[in-house]
């Protein structure tokens, strides 16, 4: 942009203006309203253009890309450990969860498996990142609907989890702890007892939120029956995670596929809800948080001893091949399709992020709802901008 010709500058500005109107030719009916990109309701810079007839939406279109960082291009110039560090930042609230499918795909290509202790600790940290992510969702849900108090409780209790992650990995938000073949380090002393106490606190938090928010009549009347997504539509759009299970589809990647994580050694319940409305999605996330605390408790009881790192060469060259691994991340199904050519780094990485699919349904689901319901639906679909835009 430094020395473009004036003509080019003008055409660039014109293109921006065209983007602003999104090539809407005839605006005869209704008022076009921009929700975002700077807006208190969107979790980041998401722009949703709605056309309103009074307070009802007749047409809605999200316009993503304000946070596009070009991950898939960046991975092509990085080595595998560097990609791990990069990939933390896709879903930044539950960052450890982003690393896991990538590492698993690389391990699949190398045909090695992490030692059992590493697998268990990976699973524990995975569930902790799920708790960190979804507890913020529970607090933020109140804010979107007008209840400004629960979010402070959410942040307070989330701090405990972040402190745990920090004491284990060294980073609150971006642990960068997973390595091909295992983990970077073992757990510190006393971490297990501390985690058990924190899990108790989080169960209390879930009970608090259930009483304060979910039991509230206004909350229920704002969310019940709003934004119903039938199961067939959900599957076609590729919704995943709590969004899919809220439409009654019994699909949980932790239970329904075999990955070298410790899920097959413990008991847990997969929550579904038949309604498919906003309340179902929010309710399922609450139950899943509680379930995650119970999973962590079981995992802590059974961690096997041993090394945390398999024998891998110091400079890792992943053999040629393609691998796809997806896991049940806090936001939904996140997967990596890794194409390797035997180099130090990947040849192509396709990052399948959950929020991209979750938000692609927004034009379909927002037709005919009121403006406050737009906020409720967006809140219940729960996306992170880094996940949409990569």
């Amino acid at each position: 942009m430094t020395d473009l010709a004036d003509r080019q500058k003008l055409s660039y500005i014109a293109a921006q203006a065209a983007d602003a109107r999104l090539n809407v030719e005839l605006e005869t009916e209704g008022m076009t309203l921009n929700i975002g990109p700077q807006h208190p309701a969107t979790h980041g810079t998401l722009r949703i253009i709605v056309r309103l007839d009074g307070e009802q939406v007749i047409w809605a279109e999200p316009s993503a890309g304000y946070m596009h960082r070009g991950y898939e291009k960046l991975t092509e110039v990085r080595t595998f450990p560097q990609v791990t560090a990069l990939v933390n930042r896709i879903d930044w609230l539950g960052s450890f969860a982003n690393e896991v499918p990538f590492i698993l795909a690389a391990e699949k290509l190398m045909e090695i498996e992490a030692p059992p202790r590493a697998q268990w600790i990976r699973t524990i940290l995975f569930e902790l990142s799920r708790i960190a992510n979804v507890s913020l969702f529970l607090g933020d849900l109140g804010v979107q609907l007008g209840a400004i108090t629960p979010v402070f409780m959410a942040f307070r209790d989330r701090e405990y989890v972040l402190n745990l992650i920090e004491s284990a990995t060294g980073g609150r938000f971006h642990p960068n702890f997973d390595r091909i073949g295992g983990l970077k380090d073992d757990l510190p002393e006393g971490w297990i007892t501390e985690t058990k106490q924190v899990m108790k606190k989080l169960r209390n938090f879930c009970d608090e939120i259930e009483a304060l928010l979910f039991g509230n009549e206004i909350f229920q009347s704002r969310l019940r029956g709003i934004g119903v997504i039938p199961a067939e539509v959900a599957k076609q759009y590729g919704l995943s995670g709590a969004n899919l299970r809220a439409s009654g589809v019994d699909w949980d990647l932790r239970r329904d596929q075999q990955l070298p994580l410790a899920y097959d050694k413990i008991d847990f319940k997969v929550w579904t809800h038949p309604d498919g409305d906003c309340f179902a999605r929010c309710w399922i996330r609450l139950q899943e948080t509680r379930e995650a605390t119970k999973i962590v408790d079981q995992l802590l009881d059974g961690i096997p001893s041993g090394p945390v790192m398999a024998k891998v060469p110091r400079i890792i060259k992943v053999p040629e091949g393609e691998a796809w691994v997806s896991t049940e991340n806090p936001l939904g199904e996140m997967g990596y399709y890794v194409v390797s050519k035997g180099d130090l780094g990947p040849f192509r990485v396709k990052i399948r992020s959950a929020s991209f699919n979750n938000i692609s349904i927004v034009p379909w689901v927002l037709r005919g709802v009121y403006v406050p319901d737009v906020i409720s639906i967006l809140a219940s679909l729960y996306f992170i901008l880094g996940d949409i835009d990569r």
Binding site: G146, I148, N216, R222, V371, V374
Partner: protein
């Protein structure tokens, strides 16, 4: 006022005192409410401390905030209708001052003894609706427009339950004069026992609830804050205001909360009075009420106002917000029938007993 100071003041001096008193009566509650409830009570409820730096325990925070707002640039959107844009906050604040003019603070500490006080009250409280509409339209901002229109619908809808709730009190007191209502509450007796006076909250409990809910809606506080709806409309009709004009909106919000709490305590809790039986005053002879009541009265009013405002603010911090149509449904289908039934029953019991 001259009776309070036991001196004979010329009219202009009395007017000056009234103006000063009115300003204090509006701004002091606003300031206290903002500090105690907005800064401190909300913070403790949210397990944080709130402002602690400015002054001991953050008590000077409000002055700091006022100073901050005063020194901000006064921006108006380019396409805004400037005359209306600038006038809107003043209209909203003006209605608060007009409201406080009929509230009695003591046997002789009142601004005006108005026989149609309740009627005037209810009429004037709708002026703020005008101000909000003006702000919404003139801001040249779709969010403000949405907020202003929502506000218009909501405030008009909730005027009716307020009127009907107050009517119950008026029927019981037999007068629309607020001073008379206070005196009646403090001098009457419940089944012959006059230890507590006869605050109308006892018989008009339903009306009290309806009134408090309507007040919550009139102040556009959560759960009725659709016009502001921070997560959707980024402050609704107040979005485009900055600096001093936003400060006026801010003060008007809490000052009106205080003034409505004053009114509620006058109508339902016995106003400035403590039961006359405690001191053996005679209701018929206003002069028999000791003069120190003119000083204690405002303090009693202040306390009652703080209690009611605490409830208003507490509900504000706890509940999510209604959607606009649910809000309207609540007003028209629930509150109005309930208050109509209340009036009917009050009238029947008034005649029967």
């Amino acid at each position: 006022m001259s009776a309070l100071l036991a001196v004979d003041l010329p009219y202009w001096a009395q007017s000056l005192l009234r103006v000063l008193g009115g300003t204090v009566a509006v701004l002091l509650p606003a300031g206290t409410i903002v500090y105690l409830f907005l800064f401190k009570m909300m913070s403790f409820m949210q397990s944080r401390l709130g402002p602690m730096e400015a002054g001991p325990y953050g008590s000077m925070q409000l002055f700091a905030e006022v100073g901050k707002w005063l020194q901000k640039e006064d921006i108006a959107p380019a396409r805004a209708d400037l005359k209306v844009f600038r006038a809107a906050p003043l209209v909203v604040l003006m209605s608060t001052f007009l409201l406080v003019a009929v509230v009695p603070f003591g046997p002789d500490a009142y601004f005006t003894d108005f026989d149609a006080g309740v009627f005037y009250l209810l009429a004037v409280s709708s002026i703020s609706t005008l101000g909000i509409l003006m702000a919404g339209w003139s801001s040249a901002n779709k969010y403000s427009l949405l907020g202003g229109l929502r506000a218009a619908g909501q405030l008009i809808a909730y005027e009716l339950p307020m009127v009907l709730a107050v009517l119950g009190v008026v029927i019981q007191a037999g007068s629309m004069n607020l001073q008379t209502i206070v005196i009646k509450q403090n001098s009457d007796s419940i089944f012959g026992w006059d230890g507590l006076g006869y605050p109308y909250i006892l018989t008009q409990f339903v009306a009290f609830l309806v009134f408090m809910i309507s007040v919550q809606a009139e102040l556009t506080q959560t759960p009725f804050d659709m016009p502001i709806a921070e997560s959707e409309l980024v402050s609704g009709y107040m979005t485009e205001y900055s600096g001093f004009r936003f400060l006026i909106f801010f003060i008007a919000e809490f000052a009106t909360a205080g003034v409505f709490a004053f009114i509620a305590s006058v109508l339902f809790l016995g106003g400035w009075g403590v039961p006359f039986a405690w001191f053996g005053w005679d209701a018929m002879d206003v002069g028999s009420i000791d003069n120190w009541m003119n000083v204690a009265g405002p303090l009693v009013m202040f306390t009652k106002m703080m209690v009611l405002t605490a409830i208003i603010m507490w509900v504000r911090f706890s509940y999510p917000r209604f959607r606009e149509d649910q809000l309207q449904r609540f007003a028209w289908k629930v509150l109005i029938p309930v208050s109509l039934v209340n009036i009917m029953l009050t009238a029947i019991f008034k005649v029967a007993f």
